[in-house]
Symmetry: C2
Subunit: 261 residues, 2 copies
């Protein structure tokens, strides 16, 4: 077991260099030996606002991951029955608060990523678009039409797909506490926003009209030019905004001034 | 749209204070209006090693989230048929590389969290245990019995449930590139490790013998004492190791010396 002392040693003053100077990724795509009959499930175009309303309601029952996933697949289940209505929706409840309140991946992204994967034969460009949109767009951008619990006026840019950064930025700007109704309502609206955006993307792909509008941010591309596959270091893969955690790049890094940009 | 300049302004020199000084979380648990008949699916005790072997094989087909989820639910499907064999396993492939290579939540945790949620009426303590074990235990801790592609000897402590930190630490210690076979194999073994651990936890819970052995780290508890529900600030919730990103706490924070511990 490594101690906190060792952990903080590694991620201390030269933290940017330490983490950016190492590597990660899934490696080359495995061949698709797991292709199954009847997969993906067929997608029928949906009304984004209807999905958003269902996602909001779903949040009130089972939080962000459940709400966003049920908003999409539940709408298909209501309209088309099987196989959509066979899905054990309740399993998605564990995604609340970045999975079991660990504040890791936002449940309003985790649910839609799985919904896209279930419904699209080419899911990755849509997930990329959704996540890039999420980390750069002021959110929530959808107000439910049904009765809401409290009005929300604050929007923030998360600069991250992670629950912790996303919610932290919002709460700070809105000046509310983590366990407030306002924060909970913001996450409900965000769940509706993400489900709605997801269906817009799925609809576009179904029409053969999908085109990415939210590319990987320029600054992340700059990091990747030295750290991604085929680069000089080839030591990382990822699309999260680097500067959200790597605010100090360390004295060994060629762009130590980045933090002052 | 907020610029990187603004983002880095917020997360700059006083980054720790900025992020720790804000707030997040899922709020009070929603009442369980979404209870469904036949949920959770019944759990039958499984052989952890058999599950690990299936998870390893699954990784080779569909990567970490698919492998870890299929290792568990696929084993139940083979032994007991319905409802387990009705699950659209392929949807889990999107979780590879921290979801679509975003390097967020490790797929070898995302898959098991959903499997636990599908099989347990009290999933959260098991997910907490799995995640706490993952961020503090030297991993991978299981070598597949079947033929492996390359031998792996390096183990690392992730100090995070996130793909990026977990894999970065391992690659740095093993001194291999992100797109190497060694890194890919490490993730395959880790997928087996996580599926195996998950089944040990499910078995213990089924026996009424589950007892958490990996509590939230002391240092995280210390952070939570000022930032969690009921504390002076009550501005956060989460169980990821704080110091993995908050290596600089800022001059306004009472424990600015922490980074030197």
């Amino acid at each position: 077991m490594t101690t906190r002392r060792e952990a903080l040693g590694l991620f201390g003053t030269a933290a940017g260099a330490a983490l950016l100077g190492s590597c990660f990724g899934t490696g080359a795509q495995a061949d698709d030996g797991a292709k199954a009959a009847g997969f993906p499930w067929p997608y029928h175009k949906l009304d984004p606002d209807a999905v958003a309303e269902r996602a909001y309601k779903g949040f009130l029952t089972g939080h962000c991951m459940y709400g966003s996933f049920y908003g999409i697949i539940g709408e298909l289940a209501d309209k088309y029955g099987a196989p959509y209505n066979s899905f054990p929706f309740m399993m998605m409840k564990i995604g609340a608060g970045g999975v079991a309140d660990w504040a890791s991946l936002c449940g309003a992204l985790n649910g839609p990523a799985l919904a896209i994967s279930l419904l699209s034969s080419e899911p990755k460009p849509l997930v990329d678009e959704l996540f890039n949109w999420y980390q750069i767009e002021p959110l929530p951008d959808y107000k439910p039409k049904q009765k809401v619990r409290v009005d929300i006026t604050t929007k923030t840019v998360s600069h991250s797909p992670l629950c912790h950064a996303s919610v932290s930025r919002w709460c700070e700007k809105a000046n509310v506490k983590a366990f407030s109704l306002e924060r909970d309502e913001r996450c409900a609206w965000l769940t509706a926003s993400c489900a709605r955006k997801t269906v817009e993307l799925l609809n576009a792909q179904a029409d053969g009209a999908f085109k990415a509008a939210f590319p990987i941010p320029k600054e992340v591309q700059e990091c990747r030019s030295c750290h991604d596959k085929g680069s000089a270091l080839e030591d990382t893969r990822g699309k999260m905004e680097c500067g959200t955690c790597h605010f100090e790049l360390g004295t060994q890094h060629p762009i130590i001034e980045r933090k002052k940009i």
